[in-house]
């Protein structure tokens, strides 16, 4: 019962936080809402007994990534800015999209129930050893490729930001 209640609390926190990110005009407030959303998500992971994932989420995202966002916001001095109001076309498109989503959710609610219990996952659970074992067996290749992905991301950022340093040649 408590777990059920906690599930709804954390879900609400996650969803409302995410909505706050989208609707806030002030970038700092948006980043803070993102933080709230992440805390809710970490709570959901705790309920699933994935403690390691919850801790990592708080460390990496709430700790590092949001701080980075805030730094960038401060460095760039981003103002909220005015948004152009919706035109008739966007309003119509949004209505159609919302109606489609509502229809989808309704039909999923009516027909989407699954009678059989869902199978459990591999269940590395909360143990660090379980994660480590999986990372170095089944998911060894993705871990290795991510290294190349990071190398590429780093170089790409350097290449693109160099351009803005006024080193334009041929002029």
């Amino acid at each position: 019962m408590t777990a059920n209640l906690m599930f709804y609390v954390f879900t609400a926190l996650t969803a409302l936080g995410a909505l706050g990110v989208v609707f806030n005009r002030n970038t700092v407030n948006a980043a803070m809402c993102f933080l709230l959303s992440l805390v809710g998500l970490a709570g959901l992971f705790v309920l699933l007994e994935a403690y390691l994932l919850a801790v990592l989420l708080v460390f990496v995202y709430a700790g590092a990534v949001v701080t980075l966002f805030l730094f960038i916001v401060m460095l760039l001095d981003v103002k909220g800015g005015r948004r152009s109001p919706f035109t008739k076309g966007t309003g119509l498109a949004a209505t159609v999209a919302a109606a489609l989503i509502a229809l989808g959710l309704l039909s999923l609610y009516n027909h989407g129930r699954i009678a059989a219990a869902l199978p459990a996952g591999p269940g590395s659970g909360s143990s660090l050893k379980g994660y480590a074992y999986q990372l170095f067996t089944t998911y060894l290749l993705p871990v290795q490729i991510v290294g190349f992905l990071l190398l590429m991301a780093m170089l790409g950022v350097i290449v693109i930001s160099k351009r803005q340093a006024g080193t334009e040649d041929g002029k």
Binding site: G104, S107, L108, H111, G112, I114, A116, L118, P119, A120, G121, P122, T137, T138, Y139, L140, L141, P142, I145, V146, F148, L149, L151, M152, A153, L155, G156, V159, I160, K162, R163, T167, E168, D169, G170, K171
Partner: protein, 485 residues
């Protein structure tokens, strides 16, 4: 040890090659050396793919499978890679200082694609998909800035935003499939998904998972980036984006589509709806284009729609004809882009009117363009015709008559704008500009090879179709094997 290295050789060559180019990027003004390295890697990759053809292995605890299917696609992709490196030439529209990085990103993107076709685990699949996509975002943004050409950043932002959104949707779909089956391995998932495949959640999950691939293929409604990215990126980058990722996309779609059982009725309806909209959208808007790259972008959307027709049939022959078609498309579109890259002055975009008098300026380029466009239009004896014929035959065999009629109608629309380009190239008024275009040896060889490939694939399609069908048979698809046409 040897049992690991041999099947994994193409990937190892690409990874090592990537590191070698990385070292080259650290030095000053080594763009020539980077290009040499890239060509060497492409040649080595092609040789390795030929050498490893027919290898069978399961690596990384079942996450990575080397089979006839993956090896065949690696061969196709490595041939395309070589063509793209040669076509790039000395990259006229990239700043000299970052040319080595361009080759590095190109190589890493190929690494992602080569790995993509072997992945049978969804986590590995997603990572490989990202490794093939992320370098492309940077390549788009690396175009030189100059007067009247500032849209590359906008294109790159559009590309990356759509890419990340589509990836997110795909991951969400995978999470449904994982929740239903409790495994990330595709073969296991295929077995466990069968009893629940008729439930809405499985269909929704699979459809969402398709979305990431639809983005790669530029299928409606994930097509918005296509024309802008083609226009905004440099000619060499556009030729890469237009050709190779689509082959990888179709390959992954084959692996994912095999998750659904063949008696499923909803997914073919969805796929045919998307195919129809993509074909009409791409072809009708292409009619009004003046920029050759934008025209190819819109026609690319239509061609992705044709390829999807093969998936509507939902049997082995359908998948085989989709793969054959997309292989042919790769060759045809590279042929068109060779012409764009060489006709363009200083790397700028090419308007259709600039092609005027091409047959006097460079007969070989004009011939390449004509063969490429005739093939794209689907005229015999070129590969585009055999590809469309195969797709339509398999769809018709499964009773999708309306879809076939619409596809034929679209092929007729497409002929108009392809012929318009050819008319401009052959009969257009060149205003006295007859400066001949000088081609280097490698471009000449590439043009000849592309023309030969387009004709040979079209005239004698049975070897490659048999190879593709044979490799599909090894995938253990839960499909009724159909007679190969």
């Amino acid at each position: 040890m040897n049992a690991f290295i041999m099947p994994f050789l193409p990937e190892l060559i690409l990874l090592l090659g990537g590191l070698v180019i990385f070292v080259i990027t650290l030095g000053d003004s080594l763009e020539k050396r980077a290009r040499t390295a890239a060509i060497t890697i492409a040649l080595a990759l092609l040789a390795a793919s030929v050498l490893c053809f027919g290898q069978e292995a399961v690596l990384f605890d079942g996450a990575y499978r080397i089979d006839a299917f993956s090896q065949l696609l690696k061969l196709i992709i490595s041939a395309g890679f070589l063509a793209i490196v040669i076509l790039g030439g000395n990259l006229p529209d990239i700043r000299p200082a970052i040319k080595p990085e361009y080759h590095l990103f190109l190589t890493l993107s190929m690494t992602g694609l080569v790995m993509l076709v072997s992945c049978v685990d969804i986590i590995t699949l997603v990572i490989a998909l990202e490794l093939s996509a992320f370098p492309l975002y940077f390549l788009v943004a690396m175009r030189r800035e100059r007067e009247g050409q500032r849209i590359q950043m906008e294109s790159a932002i559009k590309y990356i935003m759509f890419g990340i959104a589509a990836n997110g949707v795909m991951l969400f779909g995978f999470s449904y499939l994982y929740g239903l089956t409790g495994t990330t391995s595709l073969p296991e998932m295929m077995v466990k998904l069968q009893p629940v495949m008729h439930t809405p959640i499985a269909i929704v999950g699979l459809t969402l998972a398709f979305c990431g691939i639809f983005y790669k293929l530029a299928i409606f409604p994930f097509h918005f980036w296509t024309p802008d990215v083609y226009q905004g990126s440099s000619n060499e980058t556009a030729s890469l984006i237009a050709s190779l990722p689509k082959v990888g996309g179709v390959a992954v779609l084959v692996r994912l589509a095999s998750l659904a059982s063949p008696d499923n009725t909803l997914i073919p309806i969805l796929l045919s709806a998307l195919a129809i909209v993509s074909m009409f959208y791409g072809n009708l808007i292409a009619l009004a284009q003046k920029d050759l790259k934008r025209l190819l972008g819109f026609s690319g959307i239509a061609h992705a729609g044709y390829a999807l027709v093969g998936f509507v049939a939902f049997n082995q022959a359908g998948f085989a004809s989709a793969l054959y078609y997309i292989t042919g498309y790769m060759v045809m579109v590279i042929a068109c882009f060779v012409v764009i890259c060489r006709v363009s002055r200083d790397g700028s975009n090419v308007a259709i009117s600039e092609l005027a008098g091409l047959h006097r300026r460079s007969p070989l380029l004009a011939l390449t363009l004509i063969v490429g466009l005739f093939a794209l239009a689907g005229l015999p004896p070129f590969v585009g015709f055999m590809g469309k014929l195969g797709l339509l035959t398999t769809a018709l065999a499964r009773g999708h008559l309306a879809l076939v009629i619409i596809a034929v109608l679209n092929a007729a629309i497409a002929i108009y704008y392809y012929l318009r380009v050819i008319r401009e190239a052959v009969f257009g008024d060149d205003g006295g500009d007859q400066t001949p275009i000088v081609l280097d040896r490698s471009t000449q060889a590439l043009c000849v090879l592309l023309i030969v490939a387009i004709i040979v694939l079209g005239v004698a399609p049975s070897p490659i179709i048999n190879a593709i069908s044979g490799s599909l048979a090894g995938l253990n698809l839960p499909l009724p094997p159909a007679a190969v046409y």
